[in-house]
Every structure is written in C-alpha cells, then in structure tokens.
Amino acid sequence: MKKLSLKIRLILSFILIATTVFCVAGVFAWKETTEKADEFFDTYQMILARQLAGANWDTITPEQQQMTNKLLDDIHSADDEDEAIGFAVFRTDGQMIFNDGENGRDFTYQPVPKSFVSQTVDDEEWRIIWIPAVDSNYMIAVGQEKEYRADIAWEMMEEFTLPWLIGIGMMLLLMIIIIGYEFHPIHRLARGLEKRKEGDLSALSEERIPTEILPLIRAMNDLLAKVRDTLERERGFIADSAHELRTPLTALKVQLEVLQLMQDDEKARTEGLKKLAQGIDRATRLVEQLLALSRAESGVLADKDTRISWEQIVQEIVADYQIKAEAKQMNLRVQSDNSGPFTYGNPVLAGTVVRNLTDNAVRYGQAGADIVITLKNGELRVLTKQTQVSEDVLTRLGQRFYRPAGQKQKGSGLGLSIVARIVHLYGGKLTFQNTDEGFLVSICPSEKGVY
C-alpha cells in the first residue's frame, strides 16, 4: 500500500467499501428473503393441509387415485411450473391411502402432528407439515422440497439485487473517472517536474490545481523564486567579480613585464617591485571585499543570537583609523548610547558595516574635516563634515563596483554595497544625504523592529 499512488489507493478503497457494503446488504437481504419465502410457503402448505383434513377419506378408492394422477398429468403438461409440493393421506396405522400422484407417493409415515418438520424424501430435504384429519382416523402430510424454496428465494434476491449491482458498478466507474480527472493536474505537475531540465526554475502552473494542495504549490513556487533570485545574484556576482578582477590582474601582468624589461636598471627594478607589491595588495583587498560581500549576500553569518556591543565595535574601529585620520588632519569623534540598528546579530558583519563607513569617511572626506560617528536611539550615523557628494553620485552610491569619476583614492567600489547588503540582511534602512553640516550616512532599524 505504501508505494501505491493516492489515486490507486482511493480507487481500491472505494472498490473494497462498495464490495463490503454490497456483501453485508446481500447477507441481510438473503436472510430476509428466505424468511419471507418460508412464511409464504408455510401458509400455503397449511391452507392446503386444512382443506385436505376437512375431506371425507372413508370413501376413497384406488380409481379415484388414478383419476387424480391423470388429472395432475394434464395440469403438469399445461403448466411446466413444478412447485415441488406434494401431499399424502395416511391412515393412522401408517397405510397411505391417497397422494398427489407425484411427490407425495414417496412420503413415509413419520407423523409429528401440527408442526413443520424437515424430512428426507427420495434423498431430498423436504419441509413437511402433519395434521390429523377432522375425524382423527387419518393423518395428512403436506410437504415442499426445501431446494425449491431456496431457488425461489434466490430468484427473488437476484431480481432485486441486480439493479443494485448495476448501480454500484456505475458508481465505481464514475468515481474512477472523476478521481482520474481530478488527479490529472497533479499527474501533469509531477510529469512536468520529472521532465524539467537542470537549471529550469520557472514557476509551476497553478491551473486546475485543487485548493488542498494549492498552498503547497505556492510554497514551492516561492521557494523556486527564491532559488532563482539567489542564483541570479550569484551569477551576477561571479560575472562582476571576474570582470573586476581583470583590472588588478592586468596591472600585475604589465608591472611584471616592466620589471622583466628593467633587468639592468637597479633603481627602476626597485620601483617596479614596489608597484608590483601595491598591485598585489590591491588584488588582495578586492578579493577580501568580494568574500565579505559574498558572505553578506548569502546571509550565512546572519545569526541572531549574539548581542552586539555597538559602542565597543565603533571604539575599536575608530582606534584603528586614528592614524589615517590624523594624516589628513581629520578628527574622529564618537557619540554613543550603545544602541545600534540591530541588537542581535553577527558582530563580524556589524564590524564590517562600521569599518567600511569609517574607511570611506576617512578616505573620501575633505582633508581637515571632522568625522562624527553617532549611536543613538538604535540609529548609526556617520557624518563627514565639510564634505558634500554630488546628486548624480548620491543616487549611485551602494551599487556594486561603482566608483565616482576622477577618483584618486584606491578602492574596489564594493564597500558601500557590502554595507547595503548587510543592512538589508538585518532589515534596516541605509540612507545617504548631504546636510548643512556635511555628508551623512545613516542606518535606521527596520520599521518592524524585528532585530
């Protein structure tokens, strides 16, 4: 039963139920019919017996017996119906004096007055009633073959069970057809899924799908859509990464060739090696950023159990950037109430957010500008004073590999897109804006306040 399809199981169950119901009903019907038949024939036998009991048997002669035989023969030839009924009249000493000329001839004298008994006549089971005649000198026996009664009962059964049988048969047939019809969309779905080509992530058709399994199909379609999105993102990511890696690789290749050409020039060689090291550093940074972005994209590190200590993270990162900021006469300040855009999450990702924003502020901020990092009411703000970003650039910030025109600072163009991705992962909102004070990046918690 385990491996059979639901359709076959339903059909088999219906057949089983119908058959059982039919059999049980049949047994009851058989019992009822035989009882009714017995009642009917018993009454008939009784009436006949009474009539015979009222007759005058003293004057009966063998001639009369012969006449009766002849009469019965005529009746028999006119009507084939043999009701298998017979009677015999006995004297109380057991001598048969008259019979119906056929079945009654074989009756033997075994009187059990006024009740129906089963007796064997000519190797057949008969139901016989014995009653004494009115004048008590004779015993009347009226009997009927039991098999005949059974035949009649069976015929009656047949007559009224046949429509039933046809009805049940038709019902089963219709059920099978309906089940087949109703299961067709599911089969079509299964066949479609089997035949699907690798990588085909298109949605499943909801056409004619029963409401019971519609939620399942919708859930599957949602899942397919998610997988599709992820896959597309991954593909885009790989394509972009490969594309972006070409530039640092070209730099490395060209610088290496220059180095080979400068074999005889010690000074140029030293210079070339320095450039090569720079190129390797840049490629390494790009790969690290790509990895960070990939992690943020996949969301694997988005655990929500660890409580994040925003102030500690910010202080550590600010300490890291102090020297770089001083080199540009910048002042890094922190204002904090130790709340952040998400309370629980991965500290590494939270650190990446703060680091990338601080790095951008120090790198691209106006020399001599103050940088204020604020943690307040669950909001993280990085304000770079005296710095403005053009509207055109503002709309494209956060796009992967976007680097504004005329940029002298080295960068991968990934930092903000990583921040955007992480913020999105935790359901927050990332905004860039120019204010009177300077360029402001803020991260607000999600409206739902889930994290």
Binding site: T250, V254, Q255, E257, V258, K275
Partner: protein, 219 residues
C-alpha cells in the same frame, strides 16, 4: 613614435608608460578622459591607447568625438569587458584594434607597431633602406647584416626616418615624436642623435636639408 595613453588605473597606466617607453615609444599618459581627449589636438601622435572604462567621460564617447572631428590617428582600445558586443561597438565607433584585459605589455607593443605600420602604408614588419634594417618589435638594428648597438632615442629617430623615408622631417617634428611632455630636452638633442647615427651607419645615410631638416633618401 609618440603615443597618447589614456588610462585611469594608476598601476596599469604607470606600467604601460614605463614599459612602452622602455620599448622605444614616447608616451604621454593621462589619467582622466577630459585632458586626454584634448591632448590629441595638441601633438602629432602616431597612435592612441584608450581605456574604455574611464570614470567621468567614457572612452567610447572620446573616440566618437575624435572621429567626429576628423581625427584619424590609429586607436587601440583597452577593455575590461570581454563580451563581443562591447568590442564590436568599439570597432564600429572607429577603433582600429582592441585588447581585452588582462593583456600583456608586449602585445600592446606589437599591436601598436602593427597599427603605426599600417597607418604609414608599410605592411611589412621590417623597415629597410640602404642596407639598414630595423625590427620595431625586437628593436634591433642591422647594418649590412651586422647588428648595430644604438641608444633607445637613436633607434626612435632612425625608426622615424625609415618610416618617412624620402621625406624631409623638420627638427621640431623629430623632437615632438621622441620626447614627451615634461621631459627635459636640450636644444641640440636632435642634432646629437643624428650625429651619433651618422657615426654608426655612415655619413651618407642621413641627409641634412639646410634650414628645413633631415631626410633618409633611399638609393
């Protein structure tokens, strides 16, 4: 041969400039497209190396602009995009050749040489005249079958004269072709190079056309 290089990436730009100069080209390198675009109108360049992925103004519109204004210097485009559509678009906008990143310095050299040769109507890779032969790729000079050792600037002057044989080149033209902006040039630099070339290849090789310049006449 003087080449205009427009490349925003500092490491690639620096590598190409240093490498190509070592290989005998005079290279003017611009990191931004706007200055680079203007530079072509200022100097007689033999070829241009143009990166398509420039910030601000992109290489494709620079190219379109040049061709629109009738500039026909051979242009080699560099592109980080490997897709065919991008390359076709570049060629259709008037580029003469393209190189997808990552490329090799020697390939840039070879392609530039081929572009310059074709532009001067000289499809054969070697330049020859009066028993002197010069291979722009290996930058080797042979005179009557013997290898001659020349300084990079001398080779460049010889290359220029061979490329323009039977034509008179002014001192200023030669100077412009072999020195880049920012390079210190002594007033008699060209005379000095010609003098050295004559010493190594014979006095008859390069003619002085008084008050006009120099010519390599094929006999």
């Amino acid at each position: 041969m003087r080449v205009l290089l427009i490349e925003d990436d500092s490491l690639i730009g620096d590598g190409l400039k240093t490498g190509l100069e070592k290989l005998g080209f005079s290279v003017d390198w611009f990191e931004n497209g706007i200055d680079g675009k203007e530079a072509l109108f200022q100097m007689p360049y033999d070829a241009v190396v143009l990166d398509l992925g420039l910030p601000g103004i992109d290489g494709m519109s620079i190219l379109k602009d040049w061709r629109g204004q009738g500039r026909n210097e051979p242009v080699l485009i560099l592109t980080a995009r490997g897709d065919v559509d991008h390359r076709i678009a570049g060629l259709n906008e008037g580029a003469d050749d393209y190189l997808p990143k990552p490329f090799s310095l020697l390939e840039v050299q070879a392609r530039l040489n081929a572009l310059i040769r074709r532009n001067n109507g000289k499809p054969a890779p070697e330049l020859k005249a009066n028993g002197v032969s010069f291979n722009p790729q290996t930058r080797e000079v042979f005179f009557n079958g013997e290898k001659v050792i020349l300084s990079p600037k001398e080779i460049t002057v010889l290359e220029l004269l061979l490329m323009n044989k039977n034509r008179v080149l002014s001192r200023e033209t030669i100077e412009n072709k072999i020195y880049t902006w920012g390079e210190e040039v002594q007033s008699n630099a060209v005379e000095v190079h010609i003098h050295h070339l004559r010493k190594k290849l014979g006095k008859e090789m390069i003619k002085t056309i008084s008050k006009i310049g120099y010519m390599l006449e094929e006999k």
